[in-house]
Assembly symmetry: C2
Homo-oligomer: 302 residues x 2
């Protein structure tokens, strides 16, 4: 059986996103949900979204409602529900940023499930890259997020190899990059999932809401991300500098790690990352190179 | 946790209703659901909806997709999900017929839940009535449905007092009429729920699919209903004739019944219905008049 509460909230968001405000009565009419039940769901939605209710009127704060954002040079697709926003963006034009309030089949690395519950920032960007630059996007993407979280939000964010972003070793952001060859260009689909105002259901995770003790309006965060990705070609032009910054912002280096790879487990001290994203781990039996694409899990042991 | 399957199906219907056909690939793009998962859900949807899939193309048969219907003189609102379609129609203009593929909080009589699962015909009509006629709508509505089911579908349908429609004593249709005083007119909101291609989860229920052994395209049924309700004023002008037909088509008369009312249980032979819809039951202690509005349940005992 479906949880009516979630479906009701999705229907409420669907009806709020295109209007500046609406009376409770009108919203009840448009959703076919009676006012008392509706108010109950709206109050519950206030735990994950900046929804205001007062004077019998409801509105979705424009600082949090992505439909109000018009990013220059990009097409923004604000969906209420998708299978996965990363799969959705594959059907969109170049320079699209897609956002889904809820994902049914959100994907993480290695086909794992990425839970896309209400209140997070589940986005995917589709943009063209020069063939020579494409391989650095997986390095640039988490770096961009770390920079934004530090500079603009004062969060003590670090990259966890290969491309998660953590705070106090708790996962805050996941990144998944997929590339398509398209004529003479490479098209990158970059999925970014940020625990903003959602309550992540897994252990060793955290959210901006939890770290900052309040709901965070998502639009300024989204604008910053779009702005950085609009200029990503500049970052990719200088891979040496990019890799240097990536390493400077990495929580994994000089720590004892245990990597679960498709070939078995490797334990040792992480000492380096090369330009292809491979991690060098010093083990009792010598240095080992670990491929990010075949690493299922990496744990920081100290 | 939400059932992704149901939400996926709703998203598929949402994307199918406005197009004549679509490739599986395009549908995967628009929903963000991967093709293999999508096909699985489409096949499952074929148990409740006339959805065709072949040659990598998907379409919702126009005989079953209510969005393709343009009823003359009416506004048709085809919603994929509402709280209750009867609550939804209250916010619509006169001469609206609203339909919801799924209802989260469908209502039956006495605030009971009416389960509005996929494949049924959950509709609500909003129309003006002359004040003198309004009270007969509850009698006319089940009669209209019985006539259509008999004449056009060959179903051995009967009215079960006060306003259900049954076949072999199994519930096929529920009717709920609500009236609003609106200036000098009465506005009737008439909710009709028909088990068409859904699988009703309650005992003593059946569906057209079950009775006829195949999926029934809903649009012709819907058109017939809309046509009859467009002419309902003619029926209401002659309440004597209306009541006569209502009684002729009633499964309850001359049978032993047990009525559960707010005042207690009454058992006896149902012998008459008056113009206000009251049922006369002959009991060992004399004739008793039963008010439909205070009757929670009526059972046929023989």
């Amino acid at each position: 059986m479906i949880t009516e509460a979630l479906l009701s909230k999705l229907l409420i968001l669907e009806n709020l996103r295109g209007v500046s405000e609406i009376t409770v009565r009108e919203l009840a009419w448009r959703t076919g949900i009676r006012e008392n039940v509706l108010i109950h769901h709206i109050v519950d939605l206030q735990r994950t979204h900046l929804i205001e209710i007062g004077n019998n009127r409801v509105s979705w704060n424009i600082a949090d409602n992505p439909s109000t954002l018009k990013p220059w040079g990009w097409r923004l697709e604000h969906k209420i529900v998708t299978g996965s926003v990363l799969d959705y963006v594959r059907g969109c034009g170049l320079w699209t940023v897609a956002l889904s309030e809820y994902q049914m089949y959100g994907r993480g690395r290695h086909g794992r499930r990425w839970i896309g519950n209400l209140g997070g920032l589940w986005i995917a960007l589709r943009l063209p890259l020069l063939p020579g630059n494409a391989s650095y996007v997986s390095i640039a993407a988490p770096l961009i997020i770390v920079e934004i979280l530090r500079r603009n939000y004062g969060i003590n964010a670090w990259i966890k190899w290969p491309n998660d972003v953590v705070c106090n070793d708790k996962k805050l952001v996941g990144v998944l990059v997929e590339a398509e060859a398209y004529q003479d260009k490479i098209v990158a689909n970059i999925g970014i999932g940020i625990n903003v105002n959602n309550s992540p259901p897994l252990p060793n995770t955290t959210s901006l809401k939890k770290l900052m003790g309040r709901l965070i309006p998502r639009n300024s965060l989204l604008s910053l991300i779009i702005g950085w990705f609009g200029r990503i070609h500049k970052l990719l032009e200088d891979p040496k500098e990019l890799l240097k910054k990536y390493m400077e912002n990495m929580a994994t280096l000089n720590r004892r790690v245990r990597a679960k790879t498709v070939a078995g487990e490797i334990e040792g001290i992480a000492i380096d990352v090369d330009e292809y994203g491979y991690l060098t781990v010093e083990t009792p039996s010598g240095k080992k190179l670990i491929d990010p694409d075949t690493t299922l899990e990496l744990r920081h042991l100290d």
